[in-house]
Symmetry: C2
Subunit: 245 residues, 2 copies
């Protein structure tokens, strides 16, 4: 905006939207990946996403549209937040593409995605997707890594864990979310008290119960709190090299 005021015009750039859709399936933390059918990165796995439809489309609306087209999910039910912009030149071999990444959290979906627009959509365990065994297209490994860290961190200070559950859930369900996303084991009894003590985190959903062997559990729904006071802190990973005392 300094030199060449008369002749210079700002460049126009291709803008895309990428989605990191996280969920819990059978108590395991999963992400939705799609096998690319065309070059570049043909045959590799990629996050669902695509370009803006037109120069007037809102980026958030584009994220909702891709969610519908590629995962057959209704974004109005889900937690969605923006992760950030990934715009390093060269990240797409076809040319300059600026991608806005979104993080979506879905309640456990029992069946693999089928009949969707993209062929080869599949839920992949996050641990496997980040392990290096899976070939990820573009800079999608970095985007996924950022998304997972964002989710892990937000579990501590926000009620994000409830977004992994349905409208009602038990405290054991909530604990499964924390254990799967953080990759740790938690004491059910301490977890129980801790969660109950945070004002506005969860509230009772009637005297309802639930089928299982053992004593029925109370059902809860997400409460009005936007942040957790006190927070639920992750166990310190510095206690790794522990001895049997």
């Amino acid at each position: 905006m300094t030199d060449d005021e008369d002749t210079w015009t700002p460049p126009e750039i291709l803008v895309a939207v990428d989605l990191v859709i996280l969920t819990l399936r059978a108590s395991v933390f999963h992400v939705l990946l799609i096998e690319r059918g065309i070059e570049p990165f043909k045959g590799a796995q990629a996050l669902p996403g695509g370009f803006l439809n037109n120069a007037e489309e809102d980026i958030y609306a584009a994220a909702l549209r891709e969610l519908r087209e590629e995962a057959d999910l209704d974004g109005t039910d889900l937690h969605i937040e923006q992760l950030g912009a990934y715009g390093t030149p060269g990240r797409d071999p076809r040319g300059r593409v600026l991608s806005i990444a979104y993080l979506a959290i879905a309640p456990g979906l029992p069946d693999p995605v089928a009949g969707t627009d993209a062929s080869g959509a599949a839920w992949v365990p996050v641990e496997r997707a980040l392990s290096g065994d899976v070939q990820l297209a573009f800079d999608h490994w970095k985007i996924l890594d950022d998304a997972v860290e964002r989710a892990r961190s937000k579990l501590e200070h926000t009620p994000l864990a409830t977004a992994f559950c349905g409208t009602t859930f038990t405290i054991a369900d909530l604990q499964e979310v924390y254990e799967a996303v953080w990759g740790v084991d938690l004491d059910p009894r301490n977890f129980y008290r801790k969660v109950q003590r945070v004002p506005g985190f969860i509230e009772s959903a009637g005297a309802d119960r639930r089928m299982t062997t053992g004593r029925p559990a109370r059902l809860f729904r997400a409460g009005p709190a936007a942040t957790l006071h006190p927070p639920l802190t992750r166990p310190d990973p510095s206690n790794d090299s522990e001895e049997g005392r």
Copy 2:
């Protein structure tokens, strides 16, 4: 990416970079704002920023360039991180502009910015900038608000506060940062112990001292830690309506 595979081409969009530069001046939390000299929003205050130079420029590099051009700051010394993308259609009355916002933290700069590219650059207290008394251009109020909340939050879990100080600082300096950014008063004695206990937060910078009235203070520099364990938590704002006991 679904219909009109043969005829449709993705739209190209103008991409800009906006900077939220935060610092401490005389123990008060400030942000750098620039008075706009041209329409739209002529006469209003705006965050420094501008369009990408060309279609190959990296967005992070563009942020560094704007930092140099508009604030005469060298980004290699500063903490810089991406805040997010702001792309609502209509945010710029001239047309569709997607803006990538960056957060920069600078050590206290004693003098107002002068001799810079943009006329009317000024440090404005954050509280005043967000109060509504200052007319902010575009959606810059929202960007600033997000940036301030990001900074406040990161003070808890990362050594970000050291980015507000020079290479060496006293613990009292660090406390001023926390007090100014959070807008609270802290007990110096508890703060002292708390900060010292976090491994890797700060480390002694020799037996150096410092001029002031009263006992000289030890100097420290930023330590190697990327996150603070345990964190420094903000006082609970729910203790507002307190009585005199």
